[in-house]
Symmetry: D2
Subunit: 359 residues, 4 copies
């Protein structure tokens, strides 16, 4: 019996039918019923509250318990030691409808590209854009921010828009993601998208994090521009604690004293996060460079530093200076080649050719 | 006649004997004699003080004037338009003693590695280190900080130490650099080193910048941890104004609100600087990562973003946590391979094999 | 007819029965029904979306329209020009149950002291604390963070705890506030407290801001440690847009590169905010100083710079170093005297003596 | 015998003729001759280098040794325990020429006002300005930045200008200060000024700090906008180590992520410094506020937080937005009244009436 610590109890994720005994002990110790957190190839439950004694040996002896890990960090289930290595997250459309075209983000997988369409659902206005993006190597189509009332703000996307994008993304073999900034909206999007994203301003919106934890959709969590790396991990832990282990982190720049070119991409965060957690780490430097000309250098840097994927703002026209550096589809193909080359240089596969139609 | 601006008058650098007429007009306009600033394959003089009228056409008509550039930035001779492309700086030992082994830093040249020996002149204590470093691909041996009185501070290097390192570096085919923090010390080091470095704390030490501008040695100027990119360029301009055009910039991280892992490497600065200036840009992330394990990721990221070289702290032992992340010679070889691979992936040559003896 | 701007239409707040014509025009122009925002001695509605033409003269001609203000800032109703001077917010218990003991925060009123009880509802454990605080000049009792399930986290307060504090605060003549971090919890607290607070981490939790805008309770909005002054004002605007004009701002420190003593109190924000907005501005430096000994200096500085009130962490014991600098009741009396002296020195009244019982 | 520490040996400052024995022991232990550092009412020498054993009891037994203090901070002689309380620094003209009109800055003295003349030696152009400033309560006339060649930059002051200001300041009973940014210039100004100032950009210019330490003039050291409080104290220590104990610190704002109104005044630094050091602490918020209207609030805040003096930028015209917030003489009188009121409120004397002529 050890006391006063928090432990991650790692379970045999292939056999949930044998978890009952563990759940019973965990509830007894925690004084509350916590869910088993399920990732793509792992499952774990946190036991302990920093005060009570933990019957570590009794837990270890239980059938289906693989390891009991004393994490020693303020975050528990996000700790790399829970998985013991870097992990991955599987996205649809395959993940959703049983087809084979799953996109895998994380360890062992190629560097993925997510394309955020600047200024709302451009793919809706440009039906061929989805196919073009897919051909250019984009694996995740990001629909922008969900609006409860899309008629009000043309830069957001509503339910009807998401449904049309769902079709286009599926047709082109891409996963679909959407940003949600209101916890009540998750129920309105989760059946139609593959990833739900929390933006950098809402990284510490605890209602939203709770709702994401209760969802079954993979989550992309962006770091707040004023949040430390540790707070970023604690926000991820908050989602995990709700039971959803399929969380991807996205470093997207922090504010510094030098405002000359807006936030700065925080490249140190990539190795820091890869050392700290098993969760995949993506990079979105779009808001850290005022010019589309400077963006590729930072994107390549992020991939060289170990990012599992990059998020790019794509537009049919390329504003030289704007709220974020966007690139057009033609430049995207060129940047993809650069990303692939750097990915291979650091020992990763580039992303595979993806046919625009899956028929 | 145009008025109120500052112009860079670009001269035929191969024919200094024909500069007199330009110098006469420049002095007449400037009201003061400014030196021609000489780089490796360029020469220019700034004309104007933002107030007086400038006889642009008269200057253009002069023999030996190649271009008259209205720069439009607070810095003038550092502006990329002065050279019209990225430039380079040539270092010894070849540059110094007429041998062929010059090291070129900048455009068109391989990514160079400078090795800063942690805790003083380790190469002095370990005579084979210089040869090992050279074999591992190090082109510049950084002797550490010069001390007027080395007996007082064993972590600094004095004149005698520099002379011994000079021999070892020459033997191994490496250029030698030293950091100077007192303007009066430059005269005591410049005949024995190939590069004089100003550290990040002294980036705005104007006496030092003036003295570096009056020196004939190439200069490595590190960005202050609290300085903006524009201030960094203005500090370089201050050196240039003294006549010394062989300035290399070194991005080495800035302070942010997140102190978890000390300063952060400012990767955005690399494309920002490459767009703004012709001066070569190196990267030193040593002080931005607490662990030697995290360092390589940031180094590779800097190269992928376009750095012309990297500065690494090398020690025979590898402290896990310390004032800077150091690597040992064995890891250096491995990191060199990673740097070369990334450099090739972004279209640069890796650094060439360098024989440990040049005999 | 002016076009493309956003206007604040200031209404006669004493005659809501005459607002219908204005609301009709506003809805016609806005294309959506926006609420009239009601403050303590003002009412206004924003008209325009930056695109449509605004019939300014037609609005001006309407009965009950006092002024039509072209604000010229990204925030509209928070702009100081809407009220034309600094404003105030009236809190209960008087405001709530019709008694005379209203607390006024803002222009013309004494500097108020809010006491945040460190580590949960100390007043619940110490029944005499409320009376002592009131005697020491505290006008607002801050109950800490509301928990949906108080049994889980003893540092939070639940509905039952709030009800007991409600009695104690009323007895002692103090207003009661609580922090809410989940938008769904506002309905569970607003009938029992006088102020609902949004903490610094949730300053950009838009569901929460929307719910606060729909509430009738005065709101205390804390600046995020990574948020700019403009973002702070935009978050306040978001609450106002929901119809609730009784918003108080609380500057509580920002993160800087100097982590030696945690965040820094941002004293410049006080005159910046007082110039920008009519909303009252409080100061909470508790998290910006590690020691209780350093706290009074910053508190006095905030009052000298024009703060309308201060928030202090009060505990029965005084930890020297902890998550926030707390003071005990004895020191509170001393600090109150200092606050009063400085308040008078800058031309404000100190806070009045407040009897512990109002019977 | 204690070992491995650094001690401040506090001497009887009234009896330098009895210091020889202490100096002998100190040199024996330090292995180098360090000067006795002399302040206004204290003298001390640091003994130890963190490695050698220190004969503490032997030192304590020496005649003229008052105390041997184990400081426990990276800075030694700047540690508050050396003086045991807050100290003060006495400035001329009395200090210089034996007259009675010394200005005292620091503990027990009124809050002093230093007036920095914006855009060069305005007092030179406006002969009555010095008298007006003195009447308005200014105790220190700051001449601006010294230039080795004043003809080149009209915003700087040369030797001739300083001499004229010397007369005007003496006439008006004010001390005179000048900023020096080149260590070689100190010899050219120190006989004519009462204070030599190091600006925020040169806070870590070690040649300059060394030269200031060797000077007999009181020093005003400004905090760098990117320097931590600890680095600020270490820079002061560097001056002290040269023998000059009359150092005043000046907090003048730090850079933060919020660039809306340039640097932010760092009010927390005032109690932090007052707790850490005996050196007087001034405040210069001029560069932290874009508008003259916002400046007084921050000035009053600094005084309420404990500043021993304030530095103001004074101009005959008042630019609304510019490189620093300046005030004109008429507003200065009003601000002086506010400073005095706040100073009294926090238990300090205001600055005394100072006759414009001392005849």
């Amino acid at each position: 019996v050890s006391g006063g610590e928090v432990f991650a109890v790692v379970l045999d994720h292939t056999a949930p039918e044998r978890w009952d005994a563990v759940l019973a002990v965990a509830e007894e110790v925690n004084g509350i019923r916590r869910p088993v957190v399920r990732g793509d190839a792992w499952a774990a439950i946190s036991v302990g509250d920093g005060v009570r004694e933990i019957p570590v040996e009794r837990l270890r002896a239980l059938d289906s318990v693989q390891r009991v890990v004393a994490v020693g960090t303020p975050y528990c289930l996000a700790n790399r030691d829970v998985v013991g290595s870097w992990g991955f997250v599987t996205l649809g459309p395959g993940a959703q409808d049983g087809r084979a075209e799953d996109t895998i983000v994380g360890d062992g997988a190629p560097v993925v590209i997510a394309a955020a369409m600047q200024g709302g659902p451009a793919a809706d206005r440009f039906p061929h854009l989805a196919a073009q993006l897919s051909e250019a190597g984009v694996a995740i189509l990001h629909a922008g921010e969900f609006s409860g009332d899309e008629s009000r703000d043309p830069s957001t996307v509503g339910r009807a828009g998401l449904e049309r994008l769902r079709e286009q993304a599926a047709e082109a073999g891409m996963a679909l993601s959407v940003e949600v900034s209101d916890s009540n909206h998750i129920a309105r999007v989760q059946d139609v998208v593959d990833v739900v994203q929390a933006g950098s301003r809402t990284m510490q919106d605890f209602s939203l994090l709770r709702a994401l934890g209760a969802s079954e959709r993979p989550v992309l969590l962006k770091r707040g521009t004023g949040a430390t790396v540790e707070e970023f991990l604690l926000a991820a832990e908050y989602v995990l604690m709700g039971g959803n282990g399929r969380v991807m982190l996205c470093e997207s720049g922090i504010r510094t004293f030098d405002a000359a070119d807006r936030p700065r991409f925080e490249i140190n965060a990539i190795p820091l996060l890869k050392r700290a957690t098993h969760l995949p780490v993506l990079a979105d430097p779009s808001h850290t460079a005022t010019s589309s000309a400077a963006l590729p250098a930072v994107v390549r840097g992020a991939v060289a530093a170990g990012a599992d994927g990059v998020v790019l703002s794509v537009g049919s026209r390329m504003p030289r200076y704007g709220p974020s550096a966007t690139i057009d589809v033609a430049h995207l193909r060129h940047l993809r080649a650069g990303i692939d080359a750097v990915a291979r240089a650091v020992g990763r596969r580039g992303h595979p050719h993806r046919p625009s139609s899956v028929a």
